[in-house]
């Protein structure tokens, strides 16, 4: 187990690399979902305004 975390002495490089990639992946997922939610909210608002204009 120890050996796994130690990564043959390269731990200081390997783990940050994986961490950065993980962060980028997670950020992409969050970002994409938030962008969609924002577009939906925007569309909802536009429809509301159009409805009121009638």
């Amino acid at each position: 187990m120890r050996a796994f975390f130690d990564m043959g002495g390269y731990a200081a490089f390997v783990w940050p690399a994986y961490a950065v990639t993980l962060v980028v992946v997670v950020l992409n997922i969050v970002w994409a979902r938030r962008a969609l939610a924002r577009s939906l909210a925007e569309a909802r608002r536009r429809l509301q305004m159009q409805g009121e204009a009638r």
Partner: protein, 245 residues
């Protein structure tokens, strides 16, 4: 027959519904493949003869680099389709690609630097691959900057599409010139994707990661695409059902 398929792809409500349906079919397999790749790469694969356990950065660096190029190409193709056939959906695809590609280019650069320090003794070496990667990041940023700078969505779509096409023509030229400039080109055999000078136990997780990331890209694209398609359909009636449903 082929044309009906193509025409349906141009229809925003159809694309929206299709994207929503398809997303889980890409997202879950992606998660599985990446998990399997991580397990294979971090645990099962034996340490490299020269680089020990340090080579395992490959399993995040190569997919990131692959993503950066694949996404840019997709973006450029979608842009070209949008320009030639004036398809809003194609422009929506291109717009969705940019942030995904840019972030993975960033990841490729950082993981590349982290790999470079223990292996070559320096975080940054101006080798052709990394330098071209850095230029690619700026191409993405320029694309996103141009989009942001133009208010009218249609004009922004078309201007950035032209930029993407001009960019993709330039990428091989830039790469060639950077390679030409740099004689310190180091090609660790481990990085030659497609030429397995690696034992199967090392190669298999790499292929899993590459495939997994590709599927992840499609899933992310589909999610973003829905939002982009919505934004380009101001007053269409089908939106009403989608939004309230």
């Amino acid at each position: 027959m082929a044309w009906t398929w193509f025409h349906r792809l141009a229809s925003p409500p159809h694309v929206y519904a299709l994207a929503a349906r398809l997303t889980p079919w890409f997202a879950w397999p992606a998660a599985l493949l990446i998990a399997a790749g991580l397990w294979g790469g971090l645990v099962l694969a034996p340490p490299d003869y020269q680089q020990g356990d340090g080579f395992r950065i490959l399993y995040v660096h190569a997919p990131s680099a692959w993503m950066s190029l694949m996404v840019y190409t997709t973006m450029a193709v979608a842009a070209a389709v949008g320009l030639i056939w004036r398809m809003k959906v194609a422009h929506a695809v291109a717009a969705s690609c940019a942030p995904i590609g840019a972030s993975f280019t960033f990841a490729a650069l950082v993981t590349g630097a982290l790999w470079g320090e223990p292996m070559w003794g320096t975080y940054w070496e101006w080798d052709p691959r990394m330098t071209s990667e850095l230029v690619l990041l700026f191409l993405y940023l320029g694309y996103m900057g141009l989009r942001a700078g133009i208010e009218d969505t249609q004009r922004a779509d078309r201007a950035s599409a032209l930029l993407a096409v001009v960019g993709v023509v330039n990428v091989p030229i830039i790469h060639y010139s950077v390679t030409w400039w740099n004689s310190l080109h180091q090609a660790p055999s481990v990085m030659r994707i497609g030429k397995p000078s690696m034992p199967a136990a090392m190669l298999a997780p790499l292929l899993l990661m590459l495939l997994g990331f590709t599927l992840l890209f499609v899933a992310l694209l589909l999610v973003r695409l829905r939002g982009e398609v919505l934004a380009r359909e101001r007053a269409a009636s089908w939106i009403r059902e989608v939004v309230s449903g």
